[in-house]
Structures are given as structure tokens and as C-alpha cells.
């Protein structure tokens, strides 16, 4: 794709007490994309993120974030990276604003500069009205929002979000997902881990599925989806008033059409590429009223389930 690589790991391995948690993982995340790390509990998602941040040392292999070795130059990585832990916590006796200010100071952002910035991010995550309330009084969801603010306030080049929407209400989820989608536009690459597949589908460009510490599959969402459902082909559904054998014959003649199946008034056409306009033209020309046509969508669910049964 010619895009710059933000995260790259090479045979990254981690063992805890003899148990291999992450097993020769090779991960690639392009710059300015949202990458979803999926997998069941205990697949090694969090451990992978910890190693990428240089908080945990790998047993073997290496991890690079924007070219910096996470194990040897953790400070340089930490300067670029924001991290939202799975169980995010704040100093309960400080207010939201003070907590963020502390983080800004640790990142060498001057108070004058951070003042404005903090206002902005609190607004963005929807807790501006709670800015001067001690965090001890916050609900789980509000802490989660503050956690996102805490990542964004340092304007990271890459954000590692471990279950960013855990504990949020539906409105909060939407708000946070919108925020995540907007991050690449301001130059922040996002790596997030999640169990909620529909969220991943909404925000991620690429995904990697982990199982027992191994990468099962990695790639862009589009490709993987088609791969999972139809072996890389498109499936187009057409509903017409009546299906005549002549129509099927005509459609079959379009270059790239592989198979046409009928189910009552429904035609299921398997193609090599997106041939919707060609098909529509043929149907209209054959005088059969076209009621609706849609390209079959795939969901991350399908991908996940499929690779899961294999893995």
C-alpha cells in the first residue's frame, strides 16, 4: 500500500511461568489506520500491547513502534504512544482536570499549553461539566471517558486502547467510537483490542485475530470479509418481479459472473468484482422490473467465527 508502518513485531514471544502467552507474533499496523486486535479472553491481546509499550519485556523477538525498539528505547516509544489500560484508574482525590494536568506535566507539556488542551479533550469525550469533580465520584463509564481523554491529551502518534468501550452506555460508545474514527485524521494511529465485533467493524480498517498467542489472520477488513464468506468473491442479491430463464442466461453472459442461483424471485449472483451496475443494466434492458438489489455484506462476526473454527 506504500503506507508507512507504525507498528511491527517480529516473532514476538512472551512466557509467563513457562506458559507461552504470546507465541511468535508478527503484527503490522500501517500509519494512520485503526487496527483492531481481536481474540477470546486470554489470547494475549493485553500482553502484546504491554510489550509494544515496553512495559513488559518479551522473552524473544522484537517489537518496533515507529522504528523505535520497544524494549531498548521504551522512553522514546512512550513519548509517542498513549495507552488506555484495561482497568483504567485515576487518583480519586484529584479532579478530572488535575488528573489530566498531571499526565500533561509528565509529558513535559507546559501548564499554559495544557490548560486549553484539557478543556478540549474533556469536551470531546463528553465530561466537560465534570471537569472539577473529584474522580472518586465518577462512575465506571465516566472514568472510561476520562481514560480516553487521558490518552488524547498528550496528542500521541499512536494510541493503544485496551477495550476502550468497556463499561460505557450506548450513547457513550457512539461518542467514543466517533472520536476513535476521527483520530487518524489528526495523525494518530490507533490499535485497539475489543470483544465487541460490531464496534470493530465500525471503526477498524484492519484487524488481526489472536488465538492462544498466535496470529490467526491479519489483514484489511474488506478482504478478510470476502475471504471468509465467499472465498474472495462478491455476492449480489437481486429481487425482481419475475425471474425468467432468459434473464438468467443474460446475466450469466456478463464477464465476471461466476454463478447465478434462484430462490423464488430472488437471484443470488456470485461475481469476481462489484458488477452491480452491469447487472442492473441487463435486468432493466430485459424489461423485468427490478425491485431491489444489494451487495451482500459481511460482518466481523463471520470472519471471527470462521477463523475461530479453523484456529
Amino acid at each position: 500500500m506504500g503506507k508507512k508502518i507504525a507498528v511491527e513485531t517480529q516473532d514476538l514471544t512472551k512466557r509467563y511461568d513457562g506458559v507461552t502467552v504470546v507465541d511468535r507474533l508478527n503484527l503490522h499496523v500501517a500509519e494512520n489506520e485503526v487496527f483492531g486486535l481481536l481474540g477470546p479472553n486470554g489470547a494475549g491481546k493485553t500482553t502484546t500491547i504491554l510489550m509494544l509499550l515496553g512495559l513488559t519485556e518479551p522473552a524473544s523477538g522484537s517489537a518496533r513502534v515507529f522504528g523505535f525498539d520497544s524494549t531498548r528505547e521504551p522512553l522514546k516509544v512512550k513519548r509517542l504512544a498513549g495507552y488506555l489500560p484495561e482497568k483504567v484508574g485515576f487518583y480519586d482525590n484529584l479532579t478530572a482536570r488535575e488528573n489530566l494536568k498531571f499526565i500533561a506535566r509528565l509529558n513535559n507539556i507546559s501548564d499554559a499549553e495544557s490548560h486549553h488542551l484539557i478543556e478540549q479533550v474533556l469536551q470531546a469525550v463528553g465530561i466537560a461539566d465534570m471537569a472539577d469533580v473529584a474522580v472518586g465520584k465518577f462512575s465506571r463509564g465516566m472514568k472510561q471517558r476520562l481514560g480516553i481523554a487521558d490518552v488524547v491529551v498528550k496528542k500521541p502518534k499512536i494510541a493503544f486502547l485496551d477495550e476502550p468501550t468497556a463499561g460505557l452506555d450506548p450513547e457513550g460508545i457512539n461518542q467514543i467510537l466517533d472520536l476513535i474514527v476521527s483520530l487518524p485524521q489528526t495523525g494518530t494511529t490507533v490499535v485497539l483490542s475489543s470483544h465487541r465485533l460490531y464496534e470493530v467493524q465500525r471503526v477498524c480498517h484492519s484487524i488481526g485475530i489472536l488465538s492462544k498467542g498466535k496470529m490467526v489472520v491479519e489483514g484489511s477488513l474488506d478482504e478478510l470479509g470476502r475471504e471468509a464468506l465467499t472465498e474472495g468473491r462478491y455476492r449480489i442479491e437481486v429481487e425482481t418481479a419475475e425471474v425468467s430463464p432468459r434473464l438468467i442466461k443474460v446475466i450469466n453472459k456478463i464477464a465476471g459472473v461466476r454463478k447465478v442461483e434462484t430462490k423464488g424471485n430472488l437471484l443470488q449472483i456470485t461475481t469476481d468484482s462489484d458488477l452491480r451496475s452491469e447487472i442492473a443494466k441487463v435486468i432493466v434492458q430485459s424489461d423485468a422490473p427490478l425491485i431491489q438489489m444489494k451487495i451482500q455484506e459481511f460482518s466481523v462476526d463471520d470472519i471471527y467465527m470462521r477463523y475461530f473454527h479453523e484456529g
Binding site: Y16, V21, G44, T46, T47, L50, L53, L55, T56, E57, L75, K76, K78, R79, A81, G82, Y83, P85, E86, K87, V88, G89, F90, Y91, D92, N93, F102, I103, R105, L106, N107, N108, D150, K154
Partner: protein, 294 residues
């Protein structure tokens, strides 16, 4: 590190814990002063050092200020350190802090320094308050030597407190549970403060010398001896200078400041090295401790 130090200090000074400790210290000072006011008239002033008597005189039922301080300093030290690291762990803030561009040692250095700072302020304030009230009470100003002795005593208390704080911080790194780290610090304090000196040593030590040696393994004994030498110049420590039998033949004559200092020098270095050892172990363990998933 300054940022962490500042935050920790702000935390200490706004916490209820610190408020309670300050209250305790105030009460102790008041108690000590009251004891002194009861006893100081009876105490002979033939040896001078009237001002020091403010600190060392006990009343009929109330112990002297130095005994109060010897009791409270470990408690203050432990209270300042017992949850330094594991509370950050359990509240989930440690991961967040460590993922910021700061060296890991800055976190622990900042915490230790902030504790030391708080401790110094507390003990310094106590000494000043007692001196101030004492001056009004007895009307005898301290001599230069007395001021020096009190200052050295203050340094001793701070180092003694720092030792307990270092120990408590060590436990707070070793144990994830706050209750466990608190109890283990208190257990060590009780063990050395009471059981070791009054139960175990008398049983296992055959000679007086051996008993003294063993007793000095307890930081409390070291501090107690140093206090006595510094604040009671007239006192000849058993085993410090002379064997017990010769004591009765001695003419009561106060030691000079330099002589006193010579006597407590080993105590000072031992306490400092104990503190350094505690801090050193904490440091190494903390630097190597892994941040784990879950």
C-alpha cells in the same frame, strides 16, 4: 521527577491520614510538655542542660517526649509508606503512569523524597513547637550546644523514620494487598521493638556483651541509645563506654558534644545504611517488577 514529587507532596498534605498523624504528633508534644512541666522542677539542674530536660523528663504517669517520639516515629514512617506502590497498583494508576515518558525510578524516588519531606516537616514542626512552648514554660534559653544536640537529634529522628518508611515502601512493592504490607511492617516493628529486646535476646544471649550486640540489631535500640547519648550528656551508656560495674565509681560529668557525637556515629551510619538497604531493595524489586496483564 519534580512533577511526581509535587503531586505526592500535595497528596500527603491534603490527606486525612496526614492530618491524623499531625494531630497525633501534636498530642504527643503536648503530653511530653506536660510531663516535663511536672517533672522538670524535681530534676536537679546541677549538670546544666536544662533545656534538654524538656525533652527527656517524664512526669509521674506520663512518659517523656523522647519516648513519645520513639514510639510515634516508626508509626509515622510506616503510615507514610505502607501503600506507596500497591495502592497505585490496585487503583490502576501505576500502569498509566509507567506508560508515560518517565523513568521508572523517578516514580519511586519521587515517592520516597516526598515521604522524607513530609516526615522532616512533621518532626521539625514538633521540635519547634515544643521548644517554643518550653521556652515560655521554663524561661531558660537553650545554649548553643543544646541547639546543636537537638538538631542532631532531629536528624536522627528523620533518618529513623525514613528507615521505617523505606521498609514500608519495600513491603508495598512486595505485596499487592495493602493490608498485608501494612501488617508486615507493623509486625516487624513489634518484633524488634518488643519481642526481640525484651523476650528473645534475654533468652539466647549468654553474656551482657552478647546481649547488647543482639539488642543493637533492633533499629529501635539504636535510636534509643543515640537519643540518650545526645540528650542526656551526663548518662554513661552501659556497654557504650564502660562495663556496668565501673559505672558506680564514675563522677557524674557530662560528655562534650564531640564525644557524644563520636559515641553515636556508628548508630547514625547503621541507621542510614539500614535505610539505604531498604530503599535499595525496593528500588531493584520495583525496577524489575513486571507489569502484567490482568
Amino acid at each position: 521527577m519534580i512533577t511526581i514529587l509535587r503531586k505526592e507532596l500535595a497528596d500527603y498534605f491534603t490527606s486525612i491520614r496526614c492530618f491524623i498523624l499531625f494531630l497525633l504528633v501534636l498530642l504527643a508534644s503536648a503530653g511530653g510538655l506536660y510531663a516535663a512541666s511536672q517533672g522538670i522542677r524535681g530534676a536537679g539542674s546541677e549538670t546544666g542542660f536544662v533545656f534538654l530536660k524538656l525533652f527527656t523528663t517524664s512526669g509521674e504517669a506520663i512518659p517523656s517526649l523522647v519516648i513519645f517520639i520513639a514510639l510515634f516515629v516508626p508509626i509515622i514512617g510506616i503510615a507514610l509508606g505502607f501503600d506507596a506502590i500497591n495502592s497505585e497498583h490496585s487503583s490502576g494508576t501505576l500502569n498509566r503512569i509507567l506508560s508515560q515518558p518517565v523513568y521508572r525510578d523517578n516514580v519511586i524516588n519521587g515517592k520516597f523524597l516526598a515521604g522524607l519531606f513530609t516526615l522532616s516537616i512533621m518532626m521539625g514542626a514538633t521540635m519547634l513547637i515544643v521548644s517554643g512552648f518550653g521556652l515560655r514554660m521554663i524561661g531558660v534559653p537553650p545554649t548553643a550546644e543544646e541547639i546543636m544536640r537537638l538538631f542532631i537529634y532531629l536528624v536522627f529522628t528523620i533518618i529513623y523514620g525514613a528507615f521505617w518508611m523505606g521498609l514500608a515502601i519495600l513491603f508495598s512493592i512486595l505485596f499487592r494487598r495493602i493490608a498485608v504490607s501494612l501488617l508486615s511492617s507493623i509486625a516487624i516493628w513489634l518484633f524488634f521493638g518488643f519481642f526481640w529486646v525484651s523476650l528473645i535476646v534475654p533468652v539466647i544471649a549468654k553474656t551482657t556483651e552478647a546481649s547488647l550486640m543482639l539488642q543493637r540489631l533492633s533499629p529501635g535500640t539504636l535510636f534509643g541509645e543515640a537519643t540518650t547519648v545526645l540528650l542526656l550528656p551526663i548518662w554513661r551508656g552501659a556497654g557504650l563506654l564502660t562495663a556496668g560495674e565501673e559505672l558506680s565509681y564514675m563522677i557524674p560529668n557530662p560528655l562534650s558534644l564531640t564525644q557524644s557525637l563520636l559515641l553515636v556515629w556508628p548508630h547514625l551510619t547503621t541507621l542510614i545504611s539500614l535505610t539505604a538497604i531498604c530503599f535499595g531493595i525496593s528500588y531493584v524489586v520495583f525496577m524489575r517488577q513486571e507489569i502484567r496483564a490482568t
